[in-house]
Symmetry: C2
């Protein structure tokens, strides 16, 4: 039986939540938008017939959740350019539990961590520039200018350079048996732009969007800016729970599912071949577009990964985003977005508005460099170098008792610390020690996933890694003994 | 006195308009959105208590206006990714006359014209690649790679390369007396991206946006995608009617004014120095942001233009978009967006979502090439070459009786044909004759401005121009004698 005190607390909590929800819904509806001032505590209390303290508590929670900010002596203001609210799945058998998440917080937190100049960089999933064949690339660029002396004098088309798109069509066919016409391929300025274009052209406010839990955190921000509702779908070493996924697709009619099924970021998991065709069938049945972000496809440590989901797409339900620049040449920012015409026709006009086409210079350099035999030899060596770094990191962590699934590709280790471990405190201490990593909560659409961290093994060399992991383990030990 | 027949027609016209408006407002409100099916003719007729024929006529007009499309045996569907509706100013003293305009039509029509391979290209405001110092640029790029051997291995920051932003800050100060800290400068992938970022970060659906009439047509599409209301402001050789502008700002409280005050595209007009400070004061008084697109600043044929409006901005009401790549190296796509922190803080997160930063390669090449003395010598020569081409075109048109204001900079002649001249027929005939130009209606937010055309003198050489203009005049003669 509940005590009267508890009932009262629950009642107050309910009223605070009501005020909180009124503001959230007002932001969703557009009653208040970015930089708008909210009504004063007094005015809101009168409007909702509640005590001022209740409004103050609700406003405080909105501040804590990053939705509203306080300006000194001015009041409360709606935050961020795209103050949106997501609604999330709290489980199959429970009622839908809609809760707010922080807007742009992932990206800005991640940027804050990356901005700090640390000696032991394990937070950025980048490849060590010393592993890239810099001299060779420089020489290659010089040759490009002999080939195309007027290269800097002309623009690309919106879809991208036809020569590159035709070469890519041949590459996809030869390497993966994917049939895609050059008109079904668009060149984008990195994968970030491709995800943004998809988000801008295919979802509208109020749409439901499935996203993996955990996921690539900037994608959360890209979709949230469209004021959609995010529904998280768990990813495990065995892929997705397809039965659950089908229930969610059937019931919620999501517009799309943003996924990263190959050497998934941050977990390193790969959705097994057996699920891939079934996923495309589900997409067709429930008319849910699969946005397949394939960023680490070529970074495998053994057998190549299974074919992309796009391989099975004939009805136009998959958008395939293939990134190359990370391991070819980050400075180029070249990715390919592949989609059937029914989808591409919606994306191309937004690319025209966004930048009228990726710079031609970058496309021509990429074209001639990527398809050279020298680059293919480089990638083979890069795979071995990254596998050695991964194995080194695993050795260094072996005695900790921490747990992870050893990835067969990609750049990251997704490590589970003991239950209840204070990850934020660990991060703060590590940054003092010049060590950076990504706390798992940043990768979670719900902002939870507490005792996990993402460690990238691709940026630092083995000597640095020894010292960096030594400091990380020492910091964790200090916290445990507190 | 009206005849009964006319009254009846007017009555039917009114009912058709009602149905038309109901659909438009539904789209604005979000009742129907892109790809949604409209109610059947029967259902809509019942809902609005009108005859089915009335609904059919309204739907037909919506199809004609590009807002809705018919799918065979399926019905009518809302078109385009950003089916928006603009509301426009029909004059100071008249009631506001809200009318629909075609979505994405400008851009797709322009693209259609540009796509045709013609021998006499006067539709694209591009600089003849033969006027750019291609060999020199190629050699320069090679040097860059000696300077930065790992240039391709690293990313830029979201705001752009600090070295370039600091050099730009010095350049703006030395050349134009503009005080802007490096943190107030963002590097974008061309001006198209800068305009798109402004539109995404600073306006919300329903906002009012001022735009020049005529204007740079892709800007119309960029703003319309946000479902805003466009209010046209006429530009003349004397600038704007400031009294009218103040009335509109006061009454309509527009969020921003997108303007191109220097060698304006398409007209070539330059807003006089005397108006510039007053414009910034108006912007501050009515809290209307001025988005100053300065694309032709360095292409002047005599004295340099007056200082940008941004020169007068201390309170953070001007966003200055300065394009360089057109005359430096189109293949690079480098522009600078300058704004005070209050505005920049809203734009930077959207740039992060859009592409996480312009490719570093392009920024480093631009940096070292743009600030070389050789480039500055090149620009001086380019001005003379373009002035000669402009004068040549004016000589060739001298006998036609057509009218234009001779521009003192930029790439275009804005030419008025005789009243009632069938410009669309002229374009069709010219395209048959392998001659391309831009019909004035494309540059008009209202889609009217009928007997005007934009002729670019920058792309074709003088010999080509002689033949191209000869064919244009002959085609016009044919049409006149019909």
């Amino acid at each position: 039986m509940m005590t009267s005190g508890k009932t009262e607390t629950a009642e107050i909590g309910k009223r605070v939540k009501t005020v909180y929800d009124v503001v959230l819904e007002g932001i969703q509806r557009g009653e208040w938008t970015t930089r708008d001032k909210l009504p004063s505590v007094r005015a809101m209390a009168e409007r909702l017939k509640v005590h001022r303290l209740t409004v103050m508590k609700a406003y405080q929670k909105l501040v804590d959740d990053g939705i509203v900010e306080v300006k000194y002596k001015s009041g409360c203001f709606v935050r961020g350019a795209a103050a949106g609210v997501t609604q999330v799945d709290s489980g199959v058998d429970q009622p839908w539990d809609y809760q707010a998440r922080k807007v742009y917080t992932n990206r800005s937190r991640l940027a804050d961590i990356h901005r700090l100049p640390v000696d032991y960089q394990m937070s950025e999933a980048l490849i060590d520039p010393n592993l890239l064949p810099n001299m060779y690339m420089s020489n290659y660029v010089k040759q490009i200018f002999d080939l195309y002396p007027k290269l800097l004098s002309t623009y690309s088309t919106v879809m991208g350079d036809l020569e590159l798109r035709e070469s890519m069509a041949v590459f996809f066919m030869q390497k993966q048996g994917i049939t895609a016409h050059a008109d079904e391929l668009m060149i984008t300025t990195g994968s970030q732009q491709a995800i943004d274009l998809v988000s801008r052209s295919l979802v509208k406010p109020g749409d439901k969007v499935l996203i993996e839990r955990p996921t690539y955190s900037p994608a959360i921000d890209v979709f949230v800016q469209q004021n959609i509702r995010l529904i998280p779908i768990s990813i495990t070493p065995e892929g997705y729970d397809l039965e659950h996924l089908e229930q969610v697709m059937k019931r919620e009619k999501p517009r799309l599912f943003y996924m990263n099924p190959t050497f998934h970021n941050p977990t390193g998991f790969t959705v097994p071949a057996g699920q891939r065709k079934m996923l495309v069938e589900l997409a067709e049945r429930y008319q849910c577009i699969l946005v397949e972000d394939d960023v680490y496809h070529d970074i495998y440590f053994g057998d190549p990964p299974p074919p992309p989901l796009f391989y099975y797409d004939t009805e136009g339900y998959v958008i395939y985003i293939r990134s190359f620049s990370k391991y070819v040449a980050p400075g180029l920012r070249i990715s390919v977005l592949a989609a059937r015409p029914s989808l591409m026709n919606g994306i191309a006009p937004v690319k025209a508005l966004a930048d009228n086409g990726t710079p031609l210079l970058n496309q021509k350099i990429f074209q001639h460099y990527f398809f050279s035999s020298r680059l293919q030899e480089h990638v083979a060596k890069l795979r071995i170098a990254l596998q050695l770094r991964k194995e080194k990191m695993e050795q260094l962590l072996a005695g900790t008792g921490w747990r992870w699934t050893s990835p067969s590709g990609g750049l990251n280790l997704w490590v589970q610390l003991p239950d209840g471990f204070p990850v934020e405190k660990l991060l703060a201490r590590c940054l003092e020690l010049s060590v950076a990593f990504v706390p798992g909560s940043i990768c979670d659409p719900l902002g939870q996933i507490e005792p996990w961290i993402r460690l990238s093994y691709s940026y630092i060399n083995e000597l640095q890694m020894e010292e960096g992991i030594r400091r990380l383990i020492a910091a964790a030990g200090e916290l445990r003994s507190c």
